[in-house]
Symmetry: C2
Subunit: 335 residues, 2 copies
């Protein structure tokens, strides 16, 4: 292990996993953390709850399609929803840098309010800390969230089975490439905007038609490729992905080509991967295409008993290659 | 209101309250936030839960009596316990600065593990973000917490009644003055150490002998004076405090005198203020004195119907003065 924290320890990829395994899990391990799911399912007050937390350090604070406040609500709402829970209550904690324009803070709070209203969650408790100029970067936000676990829904990264269809809810890479374009001052005439969105209504529709869903996860840091690898490892299965089945917006494809990036490693903030019995795929796509956040949903592959722990990408030319977990950090601070 | 965020917006005092009222409450207000208690009590899964959040930005990361990890567990455990809940589950989210020594992170995690074990809470979910060198300051931690609300316990900042005894659980100002001494490089031969401690076991004992408790709160940022003012305003009552009844460690008194500070405005991280019917005070002091975190507990005053919203301090000489809420920020980043 490294001696010091590197940017890649926050990438969501290989070094993040090393840090979690060797540093956190070894000291704090328990039945909840060891599941490595997006939210913990806990017994509380006579029922089952999902509980999750995320800190947000995105830069810039405002970008096409969203801002750090919208991101902070959506990220936590989505972590609860993909865990098979109905998101209900959020906490909201700010670390503010001295000198921040209060008008910027107010803009972020307005966005939080709007997004929480859309996602039908209440912000019930909060905290604010201030650190001197130069000891933070504008606004950092933590949101933690609680949701009611839906009875009879059993979704987990370890529940995926050979034969499952792998579905993505829409175009890949929008959020990460939007942030990168903003940061590098690249201008596009086109439609490049973050996909940042609360997915709980879409997920509720999906679970209605497919209560036997095996797993859902939002492919944020590390992108689709990293999330697929995580789940392949957790469930001890292989995955076969069709390169030409993955929906990518032309502007994202162009920018990725220009910068030598693979959209499968670029972060999304309003997308989910679903793993469901193959015979449920058609009805799932039906409800997804009818939702504003699932219009471009597509089956991108299938789960295999072969190659456990590995994700194989099949190209249009019929060749295959292994799609590994993100190794370095192509794009820090995208969430 | 100011145009930019000042350090005093994070002080817990007057500007913090202004920011919360004018900026957060006006946009996000709901039945939970408007109570302004340390934790929200929410209906969930058929029962009642307390839910709270805090971010920790203390500097230095390690200090006599504790470190940022111990602080992050104790602060959230205490916010749940003073809300009349049994702390059960914590989330743990890190914002790490690139270049941080992993050995320092491990030391913090060890401390989190030990403190969580003492407080009998489980850390069930987590997150890690990394920001570039110079965009944070070592380690920032957010802990959010969930606890089971004890039936028949009704404690709130708005429940305090005229005639209530005001009890402090021990010496005032230890945490803040320890941090200040560390930061300024002041050395003492004496016993100066942070009081940082989980108070849930002490509080359970107190509620056993006094289930009719009206209010408990931990006087952290802004100190005892600010917390008393908050509660006086919430409950619409006055308070009369005896200057010579407030326990202060001699080393803290000496350092405060030297620096021109009033220990009543200095932060505590292992103390609580309790407001209980006067006839329960003696039995409360009995169980408190028997606990390792309540050995120096004392009645420091009484709640009055006169002077609603005001805290009056009576000196040894028989003179009185109004003890206002903290105005500026005497000591930033103490938690």
């Amino acid at each position: 292990m490294e001696e010091r924290i590197l940017m890649a320890h926050g990438s969501g990829g290989k070094l993040s996993h090393e840090l979690i395994t060797q540093c956190f899990a070894s000291k704090l391990d328990n039945q909840w953390l060891s599941r490595m799911d997006d939210a913990a399912v806990i017994d509380c007050a006579g029922g089952q709850l999902a509980f999750t937390t995320d800190s947000y350090v995105v830069t810039p604070l405002f970008f096409p399609g969203g801002d750090i406040g919208k991101l902070a609500v959506c990220g936590t709402v989505n972590d609860l929803a993909v865990s098979g829970a109905v998101p209900q209550y959020l906490s909201l904690s700010f670390i503010l840098e001295e000198g921040l324009l209060i008008a910027d803070l107010e803009r972020v709070i307005d966005s939080i309010q709007r997004t929480a209203a859309e996602a039908n969650v209440a912000i019930v408790t909060g905290d604010t800390k201030v650190v001197p100029h130069g000891k933070a970067d504008g606004i950092f936000i933590n949101t933690s969230g609680i949701g009611r676990v839906l009875p009879d829904i059993k979704v987990s990264g370890s529940n995926v089975r050979a034969g499952d269809a792998i579905i993505i809810s829409g175009n890949v890479g929008d959020h990460g490439m939007t942030i990168m374009a903003q940061r590098e001052g690249l201008r596009f005439d086109g439609d490049l905007a973050s996909d940042c969105a609360p997915l709980n209504a879409l997920i509720a529709d999906m679970l209605d038609v497919c209560p036997q869903m095996h797993c859902m996860r939002d492919p944020t840091r590390g992108g689709v490729a990293t999330t697929l690898n995580e789940i392949a490892a957790q469930s001890g299965v292989g995955m076969l992905i069709g390169d030409d089945t993955i929906p990518v917006r032309p502007s994202v494809r162009a920018l990725c080509d220009m910068l030598g990036l693979d959209p499968l490693y670029v972060a999304n903030e309003g997308k989910l991967l679903a793993f469901a019995p193959a015979d449920a795929a058609e009805s799932l796509l039906g409800v997804m295409h009818a939702s504003k956040y699932g219009r471009d949903a597509a089956v991108i592959g299938t789960v295999t008993a072969d190659n456990p722990g590995q994700v194989v990408l099949r190209t249009k030319l019929g060749t295959s290659r292994i799609l590994a977990m993100l190794a370095g950090d192509i794009l820090p601070r995208i969430c």
